[in-house]
């Protein structure tokens, strides 16, 4: 067979797959039945999507309505979960938010049966129309640029046809007709940089492995996502596993590998299930396995479950883990692209990197290179959590400023509170203050600011967050996750944590502040792997941008955010406290609240454990519980006078 015959046969095989997939979907729509799409990724399930699905099923059965329920992945709108899309003839596709089982029953009764689309539950329509506002009119939808997450939350991850019908695997078909060098050249033109955190140019990694002299090469998808508050990789794997699979296949084709491995942490059982299903489905369609679409290229993909050590996300530790050894980082060189798993050249790419590959190949490198900035092309995916109105997964073009992301896309800080800091890049990243809000988000400017792109965790904090406590939290994490191999990370992070703990307890000294700085610099300069080298970043950035908070803790024994338990006290404002109300009293776990002579309440400071339960218990119309730091700032007139 000549190459041309080969090419046309690949085309032919794919065209028939595409036809079949389209036909199947068409048939689904033709029946005239409404389609109900329910977001059933881990996040949706946590918000109650399983109960919502059951309510739909039960209600449809009871009212004898024919409708199809299609479980889909996640669109990334965490604030709106459980999210439901309903396709009903005569209406645009409507997106409903926070669909509880109760709302599900009402939607079946009023919308599917009665024809009233229940405007009060609507988030928006998915397409522009005359009836309802479209979701893209909202900045949370409209300002995003979906490349990697284009299909997430819109297709059933277990149905390969839905991906193929939307143009899935066309990139693989295109790549099969290209020379490996051409594929790598495309990736180079696109400017794609590794989305795992460091931003290493993807094409360089591939070229090293491509040129390595070995009869066996391996490609790995790194899905060992472990940063606290980050869940981009999980959502992508659960919502559109085929796009990652396709990316991995193209990667294998480019570097000349016939073996691929998904390294997914065992804490992601749903992602593991979806990837296993996807591998099986792709094999059945000859998009994976021996002689893919008759092209002569073969690829076997397996799945390896990591046991949850944070450090195994580091390439060399991941390799050790796959080999069945203790997951500990190794000295580089040799780089994995030359000597990786079982000494074979190994390319390890992050989920988001691989999921970016199919759109690049399909739509062209120049199209991708135009998105984002010159040195950081493409989109960035962040899981924005913390004090924002619309938390969730956001995919934005690189170069968007932090202000646009936090205030426009994510709706700003709730409750008329003030922005204080944003923590970017997880335990390896840093806390940036207000002065950085107008900085563009890209690999280089974030590193320059002292933070890090990281894998995409972003925690927004309002003025009620104590920055010393934030640093302590992250050090507690890295200290526990240290593999114990090298001195600086094993022992140095523990000393850092101890000092931070002392400061949050009001036991810190001026000497501690100095030691914190010196030790952080040493751990950063002296550690063996990326985990240790970046572990002091939360300390260094908070020391730099929020030094006055450290000094308040040390010199005034005061926590400016009124958060550190040892440095605060609660008291009850007697002017606001309502006579006879004892809501707080019942909530106190240690009986520290007593009734004063005029039947109001007061707190016995010697008993109070500062849990804050009374703050939540006090009815908002009274709002009488006050928090102060340092504890001796309780007004002197609040002298507790026992009843009788």
């Amino acid at each position: 067979m000549t190459p041309n015959d080969n090419r046309s046969s690949i085309e032919k095989e794919y065209a028939s797959l595409r036809e079949e997939a389209k036909l199947r979907l068409k048939r689904l729509r033709e029946t005239g039945q409404p389609n109900i799409y329910i977001g059933m990724a881990t996040c949706g399930r946590a918000a109650g999507a399983i109960e919502t699905k059951e309510a739909f099923e039960e209600s449809l059965f009871k009212r004898d309505i024919q409708a199809r329920i299609i479980p889909v992945g996640c669109m990334g709108h965490c604030y709106a979960e459980p999210l439901v899309l309903i396709e009903q003839s005569g209406f645009p596709t409507i997106c409903y938010h926070q669909v509880t089982p109760g709302k599900a029953r009402i939607l079946v009764q009023n919308f599917l049966e009665g024809g009233d689309p229940c405007l009060e539950y609507v988030l928006g329509a998915m397409q522009p129309n005359d009836m309802l506002p479209c979701v893209t009119d909202f900045p949370r939808f409209g300002m995003e640029k979906r490349v990697v997450m284009e299909h997430c939350g819109l297709i059933d991850p277990d149905d390969i046809c839905q991906y193929i019908a939307r143009g899935g695997y066309a990139a693989l078909v295109k790549a099969l007709k290209m020379q490996p060098e051409e594929i790598i050249a495309q990736i180079k033109t696109s400017g794609l940089r590794g989305r795992g955190g460091a931003g290493f140019p993807t094409w360089k990694k591939w070229t090293i492995a491509r040129e390595a002299n070995s009869d066996r090469k391996i490609v790995i998808c790194n899905a060992d996502e472990g940063d606290p508050g980050a869940y981009m990789d999980r959502t992508i794997l659960e919502s559109n596993p085929h796009q990652v699979l396709e990316g991995l296949a193209i990667c294998a084709l480019a570097v000349g590998a016939e073996q691929g491995i998904f390294y997914i942490r065992a804490e992601y059982p749903l992602a593991v299930e979806k990837i296993n299903n996807a591998i099986k489905a792709a094999r059945e369609k000859h998009l994976l396995g021996p002689n893919i679409l008759g092209s002569g290229f073969s690829l076997e993909i397996s799945l390896f479950q990591g046991s949850g050590a944070f450090v195994c996300g580091e390439e060399t530790a991941l390799i050790k883990s796959i080999q069945g050894e203790r997951g500990m980082p190794q000295v580089r060189p040799p780089f994995p692209a030359l000597k990786g798993v079982w000494e074979f050249p190994t390319v390890i790419n992050n989920v988001k990197t691989l999921a970016s590959i199919p759109p690049i190949i399909r739509k062209g490198a120049n199209w991708y290179a135009k998105i984002g900035t010159e040195k950081s092309s493409g989109t960035a995916i962040f899981s924005v959590v913390g004090d924002v109105v619309h938390p969730g997964l956001v995919e934005i073009p690189m170069g968007t400023t932090l202000r646009e992301l936090i205030y426009d896309v994510c709706g700003g800080i709730p409750g008329r509170k003030k922005f204080k800091a944003v923590q970017i890049g997880g335990p390896s990243g840093g806390c940036l203050s207000e002065q950085f809000l107008d900085w563009p988000i890209d690999f280089d400017s974030l590193s320059e600011a002292g933070a890090m792109m990281g894998s995409g965790g972003m925690v927004v904090m309002n003025d009620e967050s104590c920055m010393v406590e934030v640093a302590r939290y992250f050090l507690d994490f890295t200290q526990k996750e240290s593999c114990g191999k090298c001195t600086f990370c094993r022992i140095g992070t523990k000393h850092l944590l101890d000092i931070l703990e002392a400061i949050t307890k009001g036991e810190g000294t001026e000497r501690d502040l100095e030691l914190l700085q010196i030790l952080s610099e040493d751990v950063k300069a002296g550690s063996l792997c990326g985990l240790g080298k970046t572990a002091p970043n939360p300390v260094l950035t908070t020391l730099r941008f929020f030094r006055e908070e450290y000094e308040a803790h040390v010199f005034e024994k005061r926590c400016p955010a009124v958060m550190c338990r040892s440095l605060i006290a609660y008291y009850i404002d007697l002017d606001k406290c309502a006579r006879g109300c004892d809501a707080c009293m019942g909530s106190c776990p240690v009986d520290a609240i007593f009734t004063t002579k005029d039947r109001k309440k007061s707190i016995d400071q010697s008993k109070c454990v500062k849990c804050g339960e009374c703050v939540s218990a006090c009815p908002p119309e009274y709002d009488a519980v006050r928090k102060v730091s340092p504890p001796d700032r309780i007004p002197p007139e609040i002298v507790p006078q026992m009843e009788g």
Partner: protein
């Protein structure tokens, strides 16, 4: 020096040195009587673990000190083993190692007077009792499960030398690292029955331990 390899010229602390191309920089320094503190390196190692973080040197053209055990010599390399930056990192790492130890143990320790830590302390001019760091108490018990060995995790510096020499002799080492973070320690897989059959009690691991964390049971019986 390997006779078949190309010879390269480098300068360490102003001293001109000839070495085989591709040789380990730490090894070359030590062979030429230039001492660089180290605990985890053995000259037989192809890939040193680089875990003790003591053998820092400054190399011209590098932005900051690097561990010499992970560098190979190159023609024209200029190395300094005694810059303030190098000493700062070495002292910092060394004091961290000391901060998890009980110095009062020294008197009764089998390694007293020949301990790797005492040697480095003398070289760096660092006191064994670190004043500016609080002592971290990990307080773990001596592991007596092995038929021939005792292991004191509080003395161990986790240099992995014992694991390396055991692997050299037995192909698969009969010791391994376990646990994470500060609790990391050497373990014998917790099965005396297996060990009795596989470990011959050759004592190579005890011999190589720089700090007396591994001891033969017979020794402990004699000295109490």
């Amino acid at each position: 020096m390997d006779k078949n390899a190309n010879i390269v010229n480098l300068i360490v602390d102003g001293k001109e040195i000839k070495a085989s191309e591709g040789a380990n920089l730490l090894r070359v320094c030590l062979d030429n009587e230039i001492y660089v503190p180290n605990l985890c390196y053995l000259k037989e190692m192809e890939h040193p673990p680089a875990s003790c973080r003591l053998c820092f040197v400054a190399i011209e053209g590098y932005p900051q000190p690097v561990t010499s055990c992970t560098e190979v010599v190159r023609e024209g390399m200029v190395v300094m083993t005694d810059t303030p930056e190098v000493r700062r990192l070495q002292k910092s790492a060394f004091e961290l190692l000391l901060s998890v130890r009980r110095i009062s143990f020294c008197k009764t320790c089998i390694a007293n007077k020949r301990c790797g830590l005492q040697k480095i302390a003398r070289f760096l001019g660092v006191k064994l009792r670190v004043a500016h760091l609080n002592r971290i108490d990990v307080d773990r018990e001596v592991d007596h499960t092995h038929p021939y060995l005792d292991y004191d995790p509080d003395k161990c510096v986790l240099c992995e030398r014992c694991i390396f020499v055991c692997g050299n002799i037995n192909k698969t080492p009969m010791l391994s690292l376990a646990h994470r973070g500060l609790n990391t320690s050497v373990t014998f897989f917790e099965s005396a029955a297996i060990l009795e059959n596989s470990c011959k009690g050759c004592g190579a691991c005890v011999e190589i331990c720089p700090v007396g964390a591994l001891t033969l049971k017979s020794h402990n019986k004699v000295t109490g």
